[in-house]
């Protein structure tokens, strides 16, 4: 049997006295698109941020492509990975943020070149060629020389997706990628994500876009209060939600 690309096992995470994740287990198969939904404060973004170790988990295990993230097991004990090896793991995991976080002092092209050039050790010409290709893929080739401040939110988010793809990640994490956008700019970003899913990219998407989840997602997970309350095929689960809280949540967002 194929092992999943992302394996999340009994993950717990607390911020001070507040336990945000109370034992979450979830698999993302290779090439699969898992959408994570839930009310704000439910822990869904925290779960995503644990996968590339922007947050350190308190209990459980997370593996990407079979490799334990952030830790190594030696002599039967778990040890934190040294920073250099954690950085190497992160290169395999793309992350797209709600607020884009493009580097404002670099052009769109330079933003996409930055990772391969600085972290990947790719030559400047190769990084540029690859960045131009990726910008073309997200429909931003014409604005390659623009600074982020000169782009609309949707355009910035498409550049941010290209920036993550430039590292050739094995999995892409999306943290509410359309929540900071004006409504008319949402579709252009979702279109890029749809293409990406169709190309076979493994994706984990925290979102409020139920339409996207139904149409593109292979699996839908509803998180509330730090636990997975309901999950399954998006079309079935959205058509016939069983859990009371999930139903109430859908009533609010749909």
């Amino acid at each position: 049997m194929d092992r999943p690309m992302v394996e999340i096992r009994s993950v717990r995470k607390r911020f001070g006295a507040l336990e945000v994740l109370k034992g979450v287990s979830l698999d993302v198969p290779e090439g699969g698109v898992v959408c994570v939904v839930g009310p704000s404060g439910s822990g869904k973004s925290t779960l995503l941020r644990c996968v590339n170790r922007l947050e350190t988990i308190d209990a459980g295990r997370i593996k990407v492509d079979g490799e334990l993230i952030g830790f190594e097991e030696r002599d039967g004990r778990l040890r934190h990975l040294p920073p250099a090896r954690l950085n190497r793991q992160r290169q395999n995991i793309g992350m797209v943020f709600q607020r884009f976080h493009l580097f404002p002092h670099r052009t769109a092209l330079e933003n996409v070149m930055e990772g391969p050039l600085i972290v990947g050790g790719v030559s400047r010409e190769e990084a540029r060629r690859q960045a131009e290709e990726l910008l073309d893929r997200v429909g931003m080739a014409e604005r390659a020389g623009h600074y982020p401040g000169q782009l609309s939110g949707g355009q910035q988010q498409r550049v941010a997706i290209a920036r993550s793809l430039a590292m050739r990640p094995k999995v892409m994490l999306f943290d509410e990628p359309t929540s900071a956008l004006d409504p008319e700019l949402v579709q252009e970003v979702l279109a890029v994500m749809r293409d990406l899913a169709a190309s076979g990219m493994t994706m984990m998407v925290v979102t409020h876009e139920m339409g996207f989840a139904r149409e593109v997602g292979d699996h839908l997970v509803f998180i509330d209060d730090g636990v997975i309350v309901e999950q399954g095929d998006p079309r079935e689960v959205l058509a016939d939600p069983r859990n009371e809280r999930f139903r109430a949540f859908l009533g609010r967002v749909l």
Partner: protein, 295 residues
């Protein structure tokens, strides 16, 4: 549609005209009294503006300013990075440094560095805590007025620059750091490529002020005979008693230096505004993508 040009007449402002007339008259009177004043010795001032000794002092002032600022900036970045460290000893060392050097007057520090030989008669490189020494110098030979001045100015400046750099680093959106880390950048890459370039926008304007202030602060070095502009001017007027004339000469040069520095500051600030700009400029730019009908 008919054109309706706004060609309105502004209401009269007699109060403002009166104030302008008073200020203008005052300036004319001030210039007149200065120019015709026989005690100012304009011939002496002009003669000494290009004097070799004055120009030598001017050069020392420029050297002291530039070197102190460069070393001070380096110390400031180092200290600010130490302040962000997870290690309490590093944070403590940085805090101690800024606390001590901002807590004592620069004048006292300068005199102290000049007399360091009284505390440490010899300076050596070797194993500390009484171990063997590789090289050894007499402190009085090593610490000339120039090195004492440089030590005092640079180390004091570093303590202030640390605060400026820290404010700059804190001004950068934490999301920037996360985005860089998510790409797999190391701590030093995040700092060099992402955080510091953006922090520069906040760091540069006060650093320009520090530079301009430093041009004049170097005159404090005259207490240890630092051979900079003011010391040289003092030496000359102690010989020829043209006290005011030589102070005017020094002041003219200080004004020239600060003016040049202000112009430089303007261009450096513009350089670091890349990707930002003023609000109206940004609005215009942000609207451009939509003006052409394309998104």
């Amino acid at each position: 549609m008919t054109e309706l040009p706004v060609d309105a007449v502004r209401p009269p402002r007699p109060g403002r005209w009166l104030a302008a007339a008073v200020a203008g008259l005052f300036l004319i009177w001030l210039a007149y009294t200065i120019i015709v004043n026989p005690n100012l010795h304009w011939d002496v001032i002009i003669a000494f503006l290009g004097d070799g000794r004055i120009l030598g002092g001017l050069w020392v002032t420029i050297q002291l300013t530039v070197l102190s600022m460069v070393i001070g900036l380096a110390l400031g970045v180092l200290t600010a990075v130490m302040q962000q460290s997870g290690d309490p000893v590093l944070r403590g060392a940085a805090a101690l440094y800024t606390w001590f050097f901002r807590g004592t007057p620069l004048l006292v520090q300068l005199i102290f560095w000049f007399n360091i030989g009284l505390v440490f008669p010899t300076i050596a490189i070797g194993i500390p805590f009484g171990g063997p020494k590789l090289v050894e110098w007499q402190a009085n030979e090593l610490v000339t007025p120039f090195t004492a001045a440089l030590l005092g100015l640079a180390i004091n400046e570093g303590a202030y620059m640390a605060e400026i750099v820290r404010a700059g680093i804190r001004s950068v959106d934490p999301g920037q750091r996360e985005a860089a880390e998510a790409l797999g950048m190391s701590h030093s890459q995040v700092l060099r490529r992402v955080v510091l370039p953006q922090a520069m926008r906040v760091i540069v304007p006060p650093t320009g002020n520090q530079f301009i202030s430093m041009l004049k602060t170097t005159s404090m070095v005259s207490v240890i005979a630092g051979a900079e502009l003011l010391t040289v001017a003092q030496r000359i007027y102690l010989g020829n008693f043209e006290v005011i004339a030589l102070l005017v000469v020094a002041s003219i040069w200080y004004v020239v230096l600060t003016t040049i520095a202000s112009v430089g500051q303007h261009f450096v600030e513009r350089r670091f505004e890349r990707g930002h700009g003023t609000l109206p400029a940004r609005v215009r730019r942000n609207l451009r993508p939509f003006a052409g009908g394309g998104v």
